[in-house]
Symmetry: C2
Subunit: 345 residues, 2 copies
């Protein structure tokens, strides 16, 4: 996988500006948390696992420069940075998870010198990135066991290399299955309004030589009805303790269509996406984004001025629609209250 979505390079965060894809593969450097927060808010970097990494790197990006002389001052600064980054996007839990992990790491090392704390924090952030790579590979292995030769797989949005530090979650499974010699055909929803499927997923699948066909979101049902789709495979932004899944808007619709057409529906994500502190999907905060993403996001205005717009970025897929949740420690099956808790231990 040649795509490097996020890297730590000499005190800067290097990311692909995903808003420029597929027209241009442009890298940008975030030199402070303001740059990074802007990049997150405007989806230059997106995808739950990548946001987790971005959060951790964002903390060290800023805290390396801290001139605090004592731990309480350092901690206060760090909390400010955390809150600032955490206020960028509310739904994907990985961002909060990694910020919390960084905070706990500092706390564990509070008796060290500030310079030493900076050093362990840097190690922790890079460790989070390394773990994500490992998770991708493990999820790939676990998930590929479910894929059969000649499967046609439907996916939505982007849960691939561009959403992680390695080859992705849902798409990682496809890459792994291909490595194993399985011939896979992928259908990808364009994923309105921001077209992550059209712009990102089809781009990275083509890079890797995967047979990919682009459709509009409203065409997935027709394909399922015709018996073309063998499996649906998506990522997740947050999984509640009961197995309800928040993921890109449109995921719930695919799950209902899959159920109606008796097609297995799988979610792939690292356990850092599972939020046991939230009992069910109704408690997951759903980000609403600007109407302009729908009315003007594609280069020209496509709706009359004055029209009201509703633009939720995610929806909740109730656990009962989900055949399995594929994690780095194995595949969870219903009842998810038990299976998720067991793996998170």
């Amino acid at each position: 996988m040649s795509v490097k979505t996020i890297e730590w390079i000499e005190g800067k965060i290097k990311i692909i500006d995903q808003t420029k894809l597929p027209g241009e593969l442009k890298y940008i450097y975030c030199k402070d948390v303001r740059d990074l927060r802007e990049a997150i808010s405007s989806l230059r970097i997106r995808g739950a696992p990548a946001l987790g990494i971005a959060g951790a790197l964002g903390v060290i990006l800023e805290m390396q420069k801290s001139s605090a002389r004592n731990y309480p001052d350092f901690k206060r600064e760090m909390e400010k940075v955390s809150n600032y980054l955490g206020s960028s996007r509310p739904t994907a839990v990985n961002l909060f998870w990694s910020l919390k992990r960084m905070s706990e790491c500092a706390e564990r090392n509070r008796d060290k010198s500030i310079e030493e704390i900076k050093e362990v924090l840097k190690k922790e952030a890079l460790q989070i990135m390394e773990e994500d790579k490992w998770c991708n590979r493990q999820i790939g292995k676990e998930g590929a066991s479910l894929i059969e030769d000649k499967d046609s797989i439907l996916t939505h949005c982007n849960a691939g290399a561009l959403a992680t530090a390695d080859y992705g979650t849902a798409l990682g499974i496809i890459y792994k299955a291909k490595e194993e010699g399985k011939r896979i055909k992928v259908y990808v929803d364009e994923t309105r309004p921001l077209l992550q499927g059209a712009r990102l997923t089809s781009w990275e699948l083509l890079q890797e030589g995967i047979d990919v066909t682009l459709i509009c979101d409203n065409m997935a049902g027709e394909l399922m009805q015709k018996g073309v789709i063998d499996k649906v495979l998506v990522g997740a932004d947050r999984v509640a303790a009961n197995g309800d899944v928040a993921n890109k808007i449109g995921t719930y619709t695919l799950a209902v269509l899959a159920k109606e057409n008796k097609i297995p529906f799988y979610v792939a994500c690292p356990l850092s996406t599972v939020d046991l502190s939230i009992s069910n999907g109704r408690e997951i905060p759903i980000e609403e984004r600007s109407p302009k993403e729908i009315t003007e996001g594609l280069g020209k205005r496509i709706a009359p001025s004055g029209v009201k717009v509703y633009n939720p970025a995610f929806d909740i897929t109730p656990a009962r629609y989900i055949t399995g949740i594929i994690t780095e420690r194995g595949i969870c099956r219903p009842p998810y209250e038990k299976s998720l808790k067991n793996l998170k231990k």
Copy 2:
């Protein structure tokens, strides 16, 4: 309703160029069948009932100029015109219905002089247009009886004034319900790839002062799941004898979502859209359109070059998902084999 989608003006067909909406309300004149066929193929005019009218007017547009001296020659010319127009778009049956009706009208009058035949054909075409207006009003009345005060109605694509000669089928019901003093909230899918919902439906609803909210196609499920939608109301391009409905791609998905969320799902169309010669939806020809509508249709290229694309313009909603089919002669209920046949008699 101030919108005049199609008119017969001094030997020309005047239409709104719907590809220019909502930015510009531009009228164009089709002076021959080539102009008209191009306008149909590129969706400057669209919507099953409007296509029926366009077909009939297209026949007189050309046959008024015929220099045939006898009926066989006249009939041959007319068949050529019919076939040419009929080859523009395969799914909406109204086009074939009106062309057949024109042909039968000529046949009934074959013993008249060519000039007289031209005259009766012109009357027939204008009659088809008048009947569509009447159908709209009747469908409006029938359908409005189903609508309650404060209903939130989801619609897809455009089944309004821009798809007919009057105020529409599905949207006609909404206009009529509003006339009756009912407060209606409409949610409209943008309807990818050509955005008839965003460009046309939201435009005409705003013109008529209807409370309308635009969403992406993949957001309808989320609204239904949250209990926001009271009814789904769509048009149709062809209805088979068993009640299966061909309509704009995405309609099947809405029907499945409506069933899952126990929301009534209604189809509104004139009986000219019902094709008793076709027993079920699998026999309805589905138009596939250019990949460019998806990859380049919005002003800028949104997918990598080389990606495969699947672009069906319609899908089939099986009759079992449909609560009722609202026609000018009443509301059909299941079993549709019987109820449709009864009304078509």
